[in-house]
Symmetry: D3
Subunit: 238 residues, 6 copies
Amino acid sequence: MRPSKRQPDEMRPVSIRRNYTMHAEGSVLIEFGNTKVLCNASIEDRVPGFLRGKGQGWVTAEYGMLPRSTTQRMGREAARGKQGGRTMEIQRLIGRSLRAVMDMEKLGERTVTIDCDVIQADGGTRTASITGGFVALADAIGKLVEDGTLTENPLCGSVASVSVGIYKGTPVLDLDYPEDSNAETDMNVVMTDAGAFIEVQGTAEGHPFTEDEMNQMLALAKKGIGELTRIQQTALKG
Amino acid sequence: MRPSKRQPDEMRPVSIRRNYTMHAEGSVLIEFGNTKVLCNASIEDRVPGFLRGKGQGWVTAEYGMLPRSTTQRMGREAARGKQGGRTMEIQRLIGRSLRAVMDMEKLGERTVTIDCDVIQADGGTRTASITGGFVALADAIGKLVEDGTLTENPLCGSVASVSVGIYKGTPVLDLDYPEDSNAETDMNVVMTDAGAFIEVQGTAEGHPFTEDEMNQMLALAKKGIGELTRIQQTALKG
Amino acid sequence: MRPSKRQPDEMRPVSIRRNYTMHAEGSVLIEFGNTKVLCNASIEDRVPGFLRGKGQGWVTAEYGMLPRSTTQRMGREAARGKQGGRTMEIQRLIGRSLRAVMDMEKLGERTVTIDCDVIQADGGTRTASITGGFVALADAIGKLVEDGTLTENPLCGSVASVSVGIYKGTPVLDLDYPEDSNAETDMNVVMTDAGAFIEVQGTAEGHPFTEDEMNQMLALAKKGIGELTRIQQTALKG
Amino acid sequence: MRPSKRQPDEMRPVSIRRNYTMHAEGSVLIEFGNTKVLCNASIEDRVPGFLRGKGQGWVTAEYGMLPRSTTQRMGREAARGKQGGRTMEIQRLIGRSLRAVMDMEKLGERTVTIDCDVIQADGGTRTASITGGFVALADAIGKLVEDGTLTENPLCGSVASVSVGIYKGTPVLDLDYPEDSNAETDMNVVMTDAGAFIEVQGTAEGHPFTEDEMNQMLALAKKGIGELTRIQQTALKG
Amino acid sequence: MRPSKRQPDEMRPVSIRRNYTMHAEGSVLIEFGNTKVLCNASIEDRVPGFLRGKGQGWVTAEYGMLPRSTTQRMGREAARGKQGGRTMEIQRLIGRSLRAVMDMEKLGERTVTIDCDVIQADGGTRTASITGGFVALADAIGKLVEDGTLTENPLCGSVASVSVGIYKGTPVLDLDYPEDSNAETDMNVVMTDAGAFIEVQGTAEGHPFTEDEMNQMLALAKKGIGELTRIQQTALKG
Amino acid sequence: MRPSKRQPDEMRPVSIRRNYTMHAEGSVLIEFGNTKVLCNASIEDRVPGFLRGKGQGWVTAEYGMLPRSTTQRMGREAARGKQGGRTMEIQRLIGRSLRAVMDMEKLGERTVTIDCDVIQADGGTRTASITGGFVALADAIGKLVEDGTLTENPLCGSVASVSVGIYKGTPVLDLDYPEDSNAETDMNVVMTDAGAFIEVQGTAEGHPFTEDEMNQMLALAKKGIGELTRIQQTALKG
């Protein structure tokens, strides 16, 4: 029995609110149950040094947790003067995931930065960030297409992400914090709307996992990402 | 005529939502028009080094702006590796303002940290932080009183804050961003519910201001803080 | 009775020595009693990024305390690897105050940096920095006028600053350290030679202050700044 | 055809030299072809703060590349003042992987730090670090067992790692740099000697990958890790 | 001919003013011609971690240049967030030099920190810092002896320092900035009052130097340090 | 009797291996007994800001110790976020020493960076770095000459370095760690193949040293550097 009484293959309620703040080109509040992440997409007409003059764009992400998004207050990274390893790891994952569906030449020499800030954390903040970040990205790109800046949409698909894991011996979908902190194995999966993998990151926390367990987790992930893709599509039409 | 068509002595609509996030001992989303600040109060059973063993508590504040809370994206302070001067100045102001109504001996050896994170900025983020921060602080303290940890409420009053300024020659109350960035003078005032001053910070931006202008601004501030105090009281009863 | 036996409206002896060091375009040692601050003005033919190509100049300030300018040795900020919040707050105040009397277009694309380094501290280091910093600035600008680099003096007035406060219930002028550390209220005031306000920063330390107390403090500040303006004028003629 | 003319399932020659430096409790130079990593294990009789007094030990890792271990010189992280995101991500991976086979209670209140420093890089530095790091860890632990500090070996298995990927449409084992920088997909796999997974980190670089491709990659990884485990065992007996 | 018209073996006028600031246990302004360094000695009743509980004291030094002590303004190290290599090198040299005449056991568990801050630079700031720093140290120790904290003076001699160099082929004593920046060789020498060496740091700037040149430089240094020792003694008696 | 049983004027066995790693333009592993330093020379077609457009090149060095190159593990400088004073001092020394034999105009607008990374430390890491760094530099320059980039060799001599000291009253050559940590005096000497001095850095550790002791140490250094120069020449011919 999961602490939340969910079925093993049952996700938490997911909600996506677009245009959540007023300044960003794309602004999404995504909720996976009690996990709430604000994803803002900003477009700037310049690219990082290594891309200058190559006629290509860039998509990058930054991630942060509000100090009291967690059960115990965490020190503010800006005050400590550096981002921790976990933060860096997550923002690199978000950036790679979103770049996977962007045609950088069609985007042209501009950078889209996706800021994912965790308002409230209850497990799955990185998967919510990717899933909500994609919608913010799509909104920001949509504006460039609408206003004629881009003649062609540079997005070649959509991206969503969910966590799966082994909790008390059972493969489960979309772990919340009480599960995540006790899971034997934790896997974050990022997939396209076409059902292909962008990222698979599985970690044995309690004991090593078998190929069979991995396959069961991947099947759950596939199911969850299918649902998330539909929720993204509905939100983007709304 | 103000850009927002408000009367010179008219504040923006103010809203205070308590229990906005689930982990913090006090959690308030305050809005001054389009300015939205999340104020979370966290209680920890320890005090900074300089107070250890003195039987006193401490109240401190941290302030941050989400990178895209503003019109143009601002660099993330955690990524740049330090908090800017404006951030430091504001969080010191919030901390001092809230300490002014706290009896540190009654609080005992614990620290309350008020995290003020700007979700959306449209002028007045520091005054909203102080006003909302007080409500978060009151909620956190309220829990300590309710559960019997404290036998007496250590708060000896309430605190609220508003900005006033001279805009196109006219003293105005509660400047939004279009006014703030063009005001000749900008003053942030912090007062208690008893109508006394905690902080007065007036800055000539365009040209020096006269004593007469200062008195007019202070009168507006007094009016605004009176209204804010009532809104705080209503929220705390709600 | 004030610890220094001064009258409530009596300033400490103030001395201003120009050309104190030999390399700076303007170099002033200012003393407010035992408080000694070295103010050096440096002119450079470039402006910060946000002003490039706009035909305007900039005035900025940096502030530091020598580690043993204080009763107890303070850690060196360069060794700790960052400037504290108080330092940032003060140097921002000095910069804003001096910019208030500078016509940036007449200054042209150059930056004046005022370095205020506290040799010995006994209260009032920020007000001494502003008052002495203005004289250093005037000297540096004077050289640009003399050598024909500038055809018109871009300074449109002078600036001076003093602290006032409530000490044991009495409004007093120009607090020294023993007063400052026990004052109920502390206010730093910056005014022009024309008697208008540039900055008013009042802080309740012990208990909130009333409008009446504020008015008494402002009257004292006005008197003190009048005296300081005369001392500046005498020094600049000398 | 692979640039190195290797078969798709052929690893580079692997060599493990123990006791490579004289001070460390465990010191291994591991080579995966031209990739050379020095793995030093250090034992200290203390644990990180969060474990103090719990009767448990800790295993952690740090990773660095010598500035000219790469084709182009990379800036020295010590000189730049911070470790990059890639470094953090890799050292966190190494640490997690090695902790997976350590019984922390049997280890007792001591910390083993595995320093993995890349002398020469040609792809696969993180997998070489984990594989060599395990041998260094085993050597260090072996000394504690030999000298009677530990009565029971706290290692409950061995760990090795290899990369797999899709290169020009073909799944290949143990990518070198020319392959790695052109691979469509790159996956790092960490497994125990019992054939179970500790970590699976797959990333689509060029285009998303299918479940079928993943299964082929996992099969190659299994083969490679089997070989590495034997090489580790031979080295540890030698 | 030296730019200053001094004879090759002629030092600049040296002045030592004790009790220059009021808070430090020892406070000396030393001038070597136009070079002015403020040396403050602070005593604290604790020692660095590596000496705790060993019954010994410590002497350390910190060095800084005011930003406009030099011809061109130098960036403030506190603002840049780190001390440069030259600063570190000099403060380590000052510390080592002063420790050479201190009996750490007689000093007991206390730390003396010598802050050397350059007010005005014209060559020789490190030698002036050592020479003035010794006087500040002697004054601070003198107070501990006078007030009975120490029953025996832990200083076992005095220390002074001077630079020598080869300027246009001629060995010269006490280089000022115009000489220093053009010298072929530059050597800083630290000696005791007994004429023994504490530090010799010779650097070929233009071309390598011969043993013969070194001997001539050392002879000049000996002469200069003899003079400095007498000036120190006179100052300490005054 | 020296702990190593060497004669007072006997160096440790020295070995120089060229082309130690494959990417660097010059790559040398140098051993002074158990001290092992990897010296990699990298050539880049740009110069630091202060040399831009002057038609000159630059030679610089960076130094680091692997965390477990020492008896006790040292914290990694990259993780601590800054290079220590000793590191800075050493890398500045290496850079100055190597620049002394380089004709910067003949080198042209390019920078050679010598990375000296200590694999194993047993005293004398800085002297080994300079001696090995020269060979790496010569190799890198040799390639520029060979491929016709440079028409003339910009090296105007060779550089080597050794330490000398007073150990238990006897002047000794090439101190290893057990000697170094107990020596009364420690002197690092850098000389050219022509027998002239580039750097002399002598430090009294235990008690001040006399001129006579210095002369004996210099004679030993001369002998040692003569041997090192021959070993460098043999290596470069090999």
